[in-house]
Each structure stands twice: as structure tokens, then as C-alpha cells.
């Protein structure tokens, strides 16, 4: 259920974009949405569209499903490292939920899946051949 501060994130998901925030004073990108930079305390922050590239940071494979997930169990609850730096929780799609298939640091890319009223960012395996992510967004074009 969005709040005014998080609405742009969910609007982005509905438009097929993963939107993050970054500080225009210190350039640090961050997630989850909030109106202050956690690195320097500045309130001069802006939204930008992330690359959608990520890697698998850690996960569990849950055998006791939450309500609404009965048909999915066992399913992976993962934390991914976004190319831009922040991490977020997600589910993985397009890959079996087994330890052999889910290898830490494997490359992933964002996809959006409709769940109820919301479009939810999920991640799916990406080709390792995809180009390396650029330098952290904002580092070059936004100075102090």
C-alpha cells in the first residue's frame, strides 16, 4: 500500500521501470524510497530510472508458504544487489527454486509481474554476456 513518498516507485513499476532515488548533493543512489539521503542527510534528492541489472546477493527457499503463495512453495525469497548499489528483496522468476539453480552472484535483470493491484519488480536470470553495468548512476553527471 503506497504512501505519498513511495508512490513514484510504484508508478514506475506500473510503467515497467525500476525507479530509485539519489542524492543530488552526494550522488549516492538509495532504496527504499524516502525523502532524505541516508548517506549525507540532504533532502535534495531526485528519482531516476535504474538499469534493472542486478546480481543475486542471498536468499532462502521457503517451504512454508505465506498466504497467497501456496501454489508456489517452495519458493525463493531473495535479496538482490542492484547494479547501481542498493539492495532490495524480491522473488526470482524463470528459474527453478533449487540451490543448484540459484547461485550467488549470478546475473539477473528486472521484470515486472502483476500481483493483485500492483506491478511488482521481480528478477530473472540474465545472460552473463550482457555488458557490465556503468559506474554508479549520478556519479558522473551530478556534482556538488
Amino acid at each position: 500500500m503506497p504512501t505519498p513518498e513511495t508512490q513514484p516507485f510504484w508508478d514506475g513499476c506500473a510503467a515497467g521501470e525500476l525507479r530509485l532515488q539519489r542524492c543530488t548533493d552526494c550522488s549516492v543512489p538509495y532504496f527504499y524510497p524516502r525523502p532524505v539521503c541516508p548517506a549525507c542527510g540532504s533532502t535534495r534528492v531526485e528519482w531516476f530510472t535504474a538499469s534493472g541489472r542486478a546480481s543475486l546477493y542471498s536468499y532462502v527457499i521457503n517451504h512454508r508458504p505465506a498466504r497467497g503463495f501456496e501454489d508456489d512453495a517452495p519458493y525463493a525469497i531473495a535479496v538482490v544487489q542492484l547494479a547501481e548499489g542498493p539492495r532490495m528483496m524480491t522473488n526470482l522468476t524463470g528459474v527453478p527454486s533449487t540451490p543448484d539453480d540459484l547461485v550467488l552472484d549470478m546475473p539477473l535483470r528486472v521484470v515486472f509481474e502483476r500481483r493483485g493491484d500492483v506491478s511488482l519488480p521481480m528478477f530473472t536470470p540474465a545472460e552473463p554476456a550482457e555488458p557490465a553495468p556503468p559506474a554508479p548512476a549520478g556519479a558522473a553527471e551530478v556534482g556538488r
Partner: protein, 385 residues
């Protein structure tokens, strides 16, 4: 020089758990608070009329608990930051007693974690950050969130599934000596790895139980030591910190910043080092948490926690007795386990534990709240500083 030098001493003068632990469908959450409070006040040899400060978590909260017991407090602490809250209450009570805001503080815990009689709701609010950015991915409480960091730890430091399983084996060896422990039959690594998978890589026996129970503490000034029924336990140092309300935002999945900062503060105040500690309690909601605790407080180097436990150093006969009641894995775990970790530290220093360690002078309690969200650390001693 330790930070606490020159400050008036504070002691735990009374400590007790509810008479029974386990499955208690006939007692409400408030009823468990009351039972723990009455037992602790009696343990100190005091009456409820002697209490002028109250601390507990919401719900039911300090106003409800104080009113139910007929206490009119001049000092109130409702800090509710998960299972470590009671360690923070002790820390805050130390400050209040030194400041003269209270003379005799009662800290209570009661939780109908299993029977859920008037139990607090646990799911995050839908509009909270956790409600928006974690719950939609099928989280179902601590088994699906507190557990997520460990695969990263295993990859970075080589912790094996067998070493993780051994944490449960070691603690069961303590529980076997404790008639009040819920699970006392010996187990092997194979038993742990053969138990039902809950959330890979965690099997059932690597997850804490969920029980009903409670306990309470009476905290007062050290210059009153000797007025009470039981030997005083001195609060030598305390620390607290918080890191993240969401496991996904934990800065480094291989270490707890909150454990480390709270531990550093507590050790500095007490003027001790890890080598001075004769007894240790580390909150063990899951098998990996004691490993993180051992490393965060400097008992072992980074990455050595798993091997240290698997080599037997924390079990009966080992050089660093840890979780000697059996822990949340084998003794009891109501949901907010911190009170029980403190109770075992007090029992060990008084010399009245079921699995008594030979004469520990210093016991350290490492508390966790939420999913590596918060921490409190207590350094308790048999003697004043």
C-alpha cells in the same frame, strides 16, 4: 579507562521466570507478565510496594502492567524493539537509578507466543516500508527473513551446512542437563540435517521453538546489595544499537553492526575484553545467530564462529560456555527471548543454574531484536567493578 568508573553501581536484585514454560493456553499475555513479576519481586524478598519504576514492551505495555500490579511508577520505559528490549530496559534502568529517577525498577516479559492468548500482531503494517518492500514477496515472519543472510555468509567464509547444524547439537548438550528445557534428547548433525526443511538452508532443528512464558527482573542501586534474598548480580556494562528495520537493508549480510556496536559499548563501560568472559549468552532464534554474535563481540575472528562451535568450545566442558540453558533452540523461545538469556546469566553468576558453569565471574548477554534490527548487550558480574 572504562566509561562507567566513578558511577554508582547498579545490581539485579531479583530475577525469575514464570513457574511454567511451554504451552500455557490458560494464561494471557498480561497474565504471564504478572506471574513473572510476582516471582521476581518475591525472589528479591521485596513487595510490589517497593517498586517505583516499570519497564516492558508494548503490548501490553508498562502502563497496563504497572496498573495490573498496583504499581504507581515515577519512571516508565516502554522501549519495544523486539526480543532484545529487556536488555535495553536494564541499560535504561541503570541510567535512571544513577540519575535518581527511580530506586527499584521492575522489568517484565510475558508472551503467549505459542497459544497466542491476547498476543500482539506480528505482521508489518501494509504501508510500512517492510509492508511495501518485503511482505509482497511471500515473507512469513522470522523463518523467511532472519535466515536470508546466511547463504552469503556461507559463500564468503566457507561455513558448512554441517557446522551450522552443529550449533543446534552443541546447545542440545546443555539442554540435556536442564530439567526445564523443552527439548533434552541428544541430537546429531545427521538428525539436524534430516529434519524438515523450513527455509533452505535452515532445517527445523536449526530454528527456535515458539512457546508461552515470561520472566522479570528487579534492578536497584548496588549500595543496597545485601538487603535481598539472593546474591546480587552487578551490571558492569551495557550497550545498545540498531541497524535496520528490514533484513534486505542490512549493510553486510556477513556481520551484525548492531551486535558489534552494542558489544563495544558494553565492554568499554565494564573495562573488560573478550578473554575476561566466563559465560556467554547469545540470542539464538536461529542457528547462525550465535556465530554472528561470537564474531561481532570479538570472541573469535571473522569466519571462525562456525568452526569454533563445531570444535566443541561452547558446549559442556568447552572453554567458552555459551547458551547454557539450551537457548531458544532447545530451552524456550516465546518470541522475545532476551529475558530468558538474562535470566540464565543471573543464574550462572549466582551459582544456581541447572547446568552450572564452574564459578564464572563475568557473564555477557548478547540480545537481538527483530531480524538483526537491534541489539542490547549486558556485561554482568559476580563482583562490583
Amino acid at each position: 579507562m572504562s566509561q562507567g568508573q566513578g558511577q554508582p553501581g547498579v545490581i539485579i536484585a531479583g530475577a525469575a521466570e514464570t513457574t511454567r514454560l511451554g504451552k500455557l493456553p490458560g494464561v494471557s499475555t498480561l497474565g504471564l507478565h504478572i506471574e513473572g513479576a510476582l516471582n521476581a519481586v518475591a525472589d528479591a524478598g521485596l513487595t510490589l510496594r517497593d517498586i517505583d519504576g516499570i519497564a516492558t514492551v508494548s503490548a501490553p505495555g508498562p502502563v497496563q502492567v504497572a496498573h495490573a500490579l498496583g504499581i504507581t511508577p515515577g519512571w516508565i520505559d516502554g522501549t519495544g524493539v523486539g526480543g532484545t528490549s529487556f536488555l535495553l530496559h536494564v541499560r535504561h534502568a541503570v541510567a535512571a537509578i544513577r540519575a535518581g529517577y527511580a530506586r527499584t525498577v521492575l522489568i517484565t516479559h510475558g508472551e503467549s507466543g505459542r497459544s497466542r492468548v491476547d498476543a500482539a500482531r506480528m505482521a508489518p503494517a501494509p504501508s510500512s516500508p517492510a509492508g511495501q518492500f518485503e511482505a509482497p514477496y511471500g515473507t512469513l515472519g522470522p523463518t523467511t527473513t532472519f535466515t536470508i543472510p546466511v547463504l552469503r555468509y556461507m559463500k564468503e567464509y566457507g561455513l558448512t551446512h554441517e557446522q551450522l547444524a552443529y550449533v543446534a547439537v552443541a546447545q542440545r548438550r546443555w539442554a540435556a542437563k536442564n530439567p526445564r528445557a523443552a527439548f533434552r534428547d541428544p541430537i546429531t548433525v545427521d538428525d539436524v540435517l534430516a529434519s524438515r526443511m523450513v527455509a533452505y538452508p535452515f532445517h527445523l532443528l536449526e530454528c527456535c521453538m515458539v512457546t508461552d512464558g515470561g520472566g522479570a527482573l528487579v534492578v536497584t542501586a548496588a549500595d543496597r546489595a545485601g538487603e535481598f534474598r539472593r546474591p546480587a548480580v552487578h551490571v558492569l556494562g551495557t550497550g545498545e544499537s540498531s541497524e535496520t528495520p528490514m533484513i534486505s537493508q542490512m549493510a553486510d549480510f556477513t556481520q551484525s553492526q548492531a551486535f558489534r556496536l552494542a558489544g563495544q559499548a558494553a565492554f568499554a563501560e565494564a573495562g573488560i575484553a573478550a578473554a575476561d568472559v566466563g559465560h556467554l549468552m547469545v540470542y539464538d532464534a536461529f542457528a547462525h545467530v550465535p556465530i554472528y554474535g561470537l564474531e561481532a563481540l570479538g570472541f573469535v575472528a571473522k569466519g571462525e564462529g562456525g568452526p569454533f562451535i563445531a570444535e566443541g568450545h561452547t558446549e559442556p566442558g568447552g572453554r567458552l560456555p555459551m547458551n547454557t540453558n539450551g537457548g531458544g533452540l532447545s530451552y524456550t523461545h516465546t518470541g522475545m527471548y532476551g529475558m530468558f538469556a538474562i535470566q540464565e546469566g543471573v543464574r550462572q553468576l549466582r551459582g544456581e543454574a541447572a547446568a552450572q558453569v564452574a564459578g564464572p565471574e563475568i557473564s555477557v548477554i548478547v540480545g537481538n531484536g527483530g531480524m538483526f534490527a537491534t541489539s542490547g548487550v549486558l556485561v554482568l558480574g559476580r563482583q562490583p567493578r
